[in-house]
């Protein structure tokens, strides 16, 4: 118990709100743990950090975290976060959401937040399924997999969220999994330090609704699968598309720090407006 009390990351949690609602074996706790370790590593001020989420399993995470937190409507977390950041640019704003939240109902907000390059960090807790509503297919469910709304197999093709974010203009993009925790912490920490829009595709396992139905589980087996199919971005560059089929590329995909950041650009707008109205 003493060990727990001295745990340096305990201060980032609202201990009274634990245990969390996630199923045994769910990857989301690992991802939330990675987030607070990265926050600790970077040394964010807890009173000057806001964590925003949408609706879904992962979006319950802010409730457990000891910051100013906002649990919004489904898909809209980035838009709420944009308002917070623009109103008080001195705050650090982190957005969490699941793959349904971020890539389906919130897809439009995702690409536009990337395009603006506004200084937010977005982590997609990507478990390839709608967990909160018990296992419907998401835009991240691989083709051929089963879901309650794809009882004959999913015919949709999933996004590559990192490529989507990069193409839309995100200036920091990376991917890791609940297995590759050290990498995940490193990517989140770098994303937090990045001035501009940072996107982390954090793959997670849902043994309850995705693993079980598709006979991929239990949880440990799903994490071992991450270990097997993930290829570091450096190694992937030397591989052919054939060799990369059915593989998942992890690591830092984009890091372009010199792109103008939105709130800083808006400060220039204010200066121009004042100058022009005075003159």
């Amino acid at each position: 118990m003493a060990e727990v009390q001295n745990n340096p990351i305990l201060k980032y949690f609202r201990a009274s709100k634990l245990p969390h609602i996630w199923c045994p074996g769910c990857g989301h706790g690992i991802l939330m743990g990675a987030l607070v370790r990265a926050i600790d590593k970077v040394g964010l001020d807890q009173d000057r950090t806001v964590i925003v989420s949408g609706i879904g399993c992962s979006s319950r995470a802010p409730g457990y975290l000891n910051f100013d937190t906002l649990h919004t409507t489904h898909g809209r977390a980035l838009a709420f976060a944009t308002g917070i950041k623009l109103a008080r640019p001195e705050l650090k704003v982190i957005v969490l959401g699941g793959d349904g939240d971020i890539a389906a109902i919130g897809g439009n907000h995702l690409i536009h937040a990337c395009r603006r390059n506004i200084d937010l960090l977005l982590i997609c807790f990507n478990n390839s399924i709608y967990g909160m509503t018990s296992g419907q297919y998401s835009p991240m469910t691989p083709t051929g997999r089963l879901a309650t709304t794809a009882p004959y197999g999913n015919i949709d093709r999933p996004f590559d969220l990192c490529q989507l974010a990069a193409a839309a203009g995100a200036t920091y993009v990376g991917r890791a999994t609940s297995y590759h925790v050290t990498l995940l912490i490193e990517l989140i920490a770098k994303g937090l330090k990045h001035k501009g829009f940072a996107f982390i595709d954090a793959l997670s396992q849902c043994p309850t609704y995705y693993g079980r139905r598709n006979k991929l589980g239990p949880s440990v087996k799903m994490m071992e699968w991450f270990k097997e199919v993930c290829i570091p971005v450096g190694a992937a560059k030397k591989m052919t598309p054939e060799q990369l089929r059915d593989k998942i590329v992890i690591g830092e995909m984009v890091n372009t720090p010199d792109v103008p950041e939105y709130t800083e650009e808006y400060e220039k707008v204010k200066a121009r407006a004042k100058e022009m109205s005075a003159g």
């Binding site: 709100k17 807890q46 009173d47 000057r48 806001v50 925003v52 802010p62 409730g63 000891n66 910051f67 100013d68 937190t69 906002l70 649990h71 919004t72 409507t73 809209r76 980035l78 838009a79 709420f80 976060a81 944009t82 308002g83 917070i84 950041k85 623009l86 109103a87 008080r88 001195e90 705050l91 439009n108 907000h109 536009h112 808006y266 707008v269 204010k270 121009r272 407006a273 004042k274 109205s277």
Partner: protein, 379 residues
């Protein structure tokens, strides 16, 4: 910068933006839509001059979301739209009601349903304003009839929103939004401006949703060190979700109570020559201008007519309607829809009084002649 104290020509939409800026609105997120776009355009020009922020979001949903986010970070925030956009904003208007986030939402009404007629006037959104979101919550909406009143009333909308911690709708119509007329802007130092009350730093443990001022809680701004939680889920005083039916019910009832308790402070009506009237016209927004002229002309012709003009349309001014119109022979409800407010008037007045609907849709206006003719037809 706008001159104060002297008559100037201003558009209704301009007056909306300038009034909001005058009372401290410093964040506007919006999406272009006729006939409200001038509000966004003027905010884009003026807000950065005042150190505020304008952002054109990717859609109406995100505009409303950004407004709520900015307000939680302490800014007086506003968005503006028309019927089609207002439908899309409902999701996060509901969130703002539930999470008690002050903000002002402007709806400059045009003809619907759906895309309807973008540049033509209508008043078809009065019920959407009241009942557009899901769930059960009160709604406050004010409805100006002139450019001057738009300026004055947007300030009241902010004062109400900040006092009661709730969204307030400024329900305009195309007639007023696009009208240019003479206004005299007050000296900013003479304005009554109210800002939300904040919690004391010492009031730990902090309960953001515990009612402190009557039924209104004192919610902190993000970044002020309170580390509190906001959710659209039913929540208790701590702000965290609850599944306790009693707590959830009490929260919904409190949302109603806080508005009901402020009824006298938020209900504004304009009455003209009702003291000795036998018949009255009930009209609001741009249509009330036709009604005013019709009543004046009716009086010249010896008809004892009066005007009842609700400025606050939600909560519906029930008591005022009963008091002012309860003993009349007939009430003509003139509106640019097929009888939405008439339902409320009938509900309040009961069966004893003849309530006559004068309704028009499709973008045509109701003229003073139309109303006068109806008044003359009352037996």
């Amino acid at each position: 910068m706008v001159k104060t104290g002297k008559g100037i020509l201003m558009q209704g939409n301009e007056a909306c933006a300038e009034g909001a800026i005058a009372c401290g609105m410093r964040f506007f997120a919006g999406y272009p839509i006729t006939p409200s776009t001038e509000i966004a355009e003027l905010c884009a020009l003026r807000l950065p001059q005042e150190g505020g922020v304008f952002i054109q979001m990717e859609d109406e949903l995100s505009s409303m979301a950004a407004v709520v986010g900015a307000s939680l970070a302490g800014a007086k925030a506003m968005t503006a739209t028309s019927g089609p956009g207002f439908s899309l904003k409902q999701e996060n208007i509901g969130f703002a009601c539930m999470a008690e986030v002050p903000c002002v939402v402007v709806n400059v009404q045009r003809v619907g349903p759906s895309t309807g007629m973008p540049t033509s006037p209508a008043q078809g959104d009065v019920m959407q304003v009241r009942w557009g979101t899901h769930g059960d919550h009160p709604m406050i909406a004010l409805c100006p009839w002139s450019v001057q009143e738009t300026y004055n009333i947007v300030i009241r909308c902010f004062n109400i929103a900040e006092t009661l911690r709730t969204p307030v709708i400024l329900l305009m119509d195309e007639i007023v939004g696009h009208l240019r007329e003479k206004v005299v802007l007050p000296d900013p130092s003479t304005l009554t401006i109210v800002s939300r009350r904040k919690p004391q730093k010492s009031s730990l443990p902090y309960l953001p949703y515990k009612p402190v001022y009557g039924d209104v809680p004192a919610i902190a701004d993000y970044g002020d060190g309170f580390r509190f939680h906001v959710t659209g889920l039913s929540h208790d005083y701590t702000g965290f979700p609850t599944n306790d039916a009693n707590v959830a019910a009490e929260e919904i009832k409190r949302l109603h109570r806080k508005v009901q308790a402020a009824r006298n402070e938020i209900t504004f009506v304009h009455k003209y020559r009702l003291e000795d009237a036998e018949i009255a016209v009930f009209a609001y927004g741009g249509v009330a201008r036709s009604a005013m002229e019709a009543v004046m002309r009716a009086r010249e012709q010896g008809i004892r007519a009066g005007l009842f003009r609700p400025i606050t349309i939600w909560p519906f001014p029930e008591e005022e309607v009963r008091q002012s119109l309860g003993a009349l022979k007939a009430v003509v409800v003139a509106e640019l829809n097929l009888g939405q407010m008439r339902l409320e008037v009938e509900r309040c007045l009961g069966k004893g009084i003849e309530v006559i609907g004068l309704n028009r849709v499709g973008g045509q206006i109701i003229t003073p002649d139309d109303i006068l003719e109806t008044l003359r037809g009352v037996k």
